[in-house]
């Protein structure tokens, strides 16, 4: 088992070379885990580059995180590769931040069809909006759910 960070550094170098202004931050947080933070308006370009040039062909999930103290939502696309056996263990966390008062982001369904359900869940659980999402409906919650988006930090439990 190779413990060096060569592959991670190489990927980060390529990303920084191609998007010198758009990538705010790219670091290897530990072996085979890379965090890449981009500006929301540039995420489509970076995503296309990751898919077509670096063979990150599928999402393993999409997370939304509510940083209510910083008044922002972070949307994290977890990307992995199945076609390239050498980088199957590498996971890229492609991050973008949207402001809490107008949580609008661009949907990446056209790039990775697999993100559809994850983005739908973020819509109902956090009240995010994804432009260009084909089915922005409820996924898990009741159809007549009238409460606030339950995963937001200000929603507390009665026993809390």
């Amino acid at each position: 088992m190779n413990l060096s960070h060569e592959r991670e550094d190489y990927l980060i170098k390529i990303l920084k070379e191609n998007f010198p202004n758009d990538i705010k931050d790219a670091t290897a947080i530990r072996r085979s885990r890379i965090n890449v933070t981009v500006a929301p308006e540039k995420i489509v370009d970076v995503a296309l580059f990751l898919r077509d040039k670096l063979a990150f062909d599928h999402p393993t999930g999409v997370s939304a995180v509510d940083y209510n103290r910083e008044s922002r939502f972070e949307i994290v696309y977890h990307l992995s590769s199945a076609t390239n056996p050498d980088q199957r263990d590498i996971l890229i966390n492609l991050k973008e931040s949207v402001p809490r008062n107008s949580p609008k982001a661009t949907s990446l369904v056209k790039i990775w069809p697999g993100v559809e359900n994850f983005e739908r869940e973020s819509i109902e659980m956090f009240g995010l909006q994804f432009e260009g999402h084909p089915r922005p409906e409820k996924l898990f919650l009741n159809d007549n759910w009238d409460g606030p988006p339950p995963m937001r930090k200000e929603v507390r439990f009665p026993t809390d």
Binding site: F140, L141, N142, P150, V155, F157, P158, T159
Partner: protein
């Protein structure tokens, strides 16, 4: 009866039907009483006890233990429990675990469509009181909030033996019950 009606019908057939209704009503009361006497009631209850067919509805993860209980080692069919697809021929709902708000609506709908007599077993802590998920935003804390429950089977999840015990308890309950529930 007919005299109290605001409009007295002159149609002889209707009059006949009205009086027949009264008679049929009285007759059925007598039949009910006769059937509820000890020997006939025992036969009917015996038949009900050993043909408890649960509906094919699974609410959450206790279904894994329900599956294990229906399977080879525990074999619920020896108690006459055979999961069945059609609501109208089923007599039992085994609520297998957590009831979400989305499922509760459907569960009540299913219960209402079933023919009387119908029984409910609440299986697992979640179906009794919410269990591990008692403080969640999307669940109903216990089946008793929208259904009359006959037997509670505690456990998270209950072992198949516990479910068997619950079914035997339900059978005992049916054995001592009346054929026609007081409504």
């Amino acid at each position: 009866m007919s005299a109290q009606k605001p409009v007295q019908s002159d149609d002889p057939i209707e009059l006949l039907a009205d009086s027949l209704n009264v008679w049929v009503g009285k007759l059925s009361d007598i039949v009910h009483k006769v059937i509820d006497t000890e020997p006939i009631r025992n036969v009917i209850n015996w038949a009900r006890m050993y043909s408890l067919w649960p509906v094919n509805i699974t609410t959450a993860c206790c279904s894994a233990e329900f599956g294990a209980a229906s399977g080879a080692r525990h074999d619920l069919e020896r108690f006459g429990v055979l999961p069945y697809g059609s609501l109208r021929q089923s007599d039992l709902i085994v609520i297998e675990g957590t009831i979400t708000k989305k499922m509760a609506k459907r569960l009540r709908m299913i219960y209402d469509q079933m023919a009387i007599p119908r029984y409910v077993i609440a299986m697992g802590d979640c179906a009794i009181s919410g269990g591990l998920f008692h403080d969640s935003y999307s669940i109903v804390n216990g089946a008793h909030e929208f259904l009359p429950v006959d037997v509670y089977v505690p456990g998270c999840p209950p072992r198949p033996e516990a479910l068997e015990h619950g079914i035997i308890m339900l059978q005992e309950k049916i054995r001592s019950s009346k054929v026609y529930p007081q409504s």
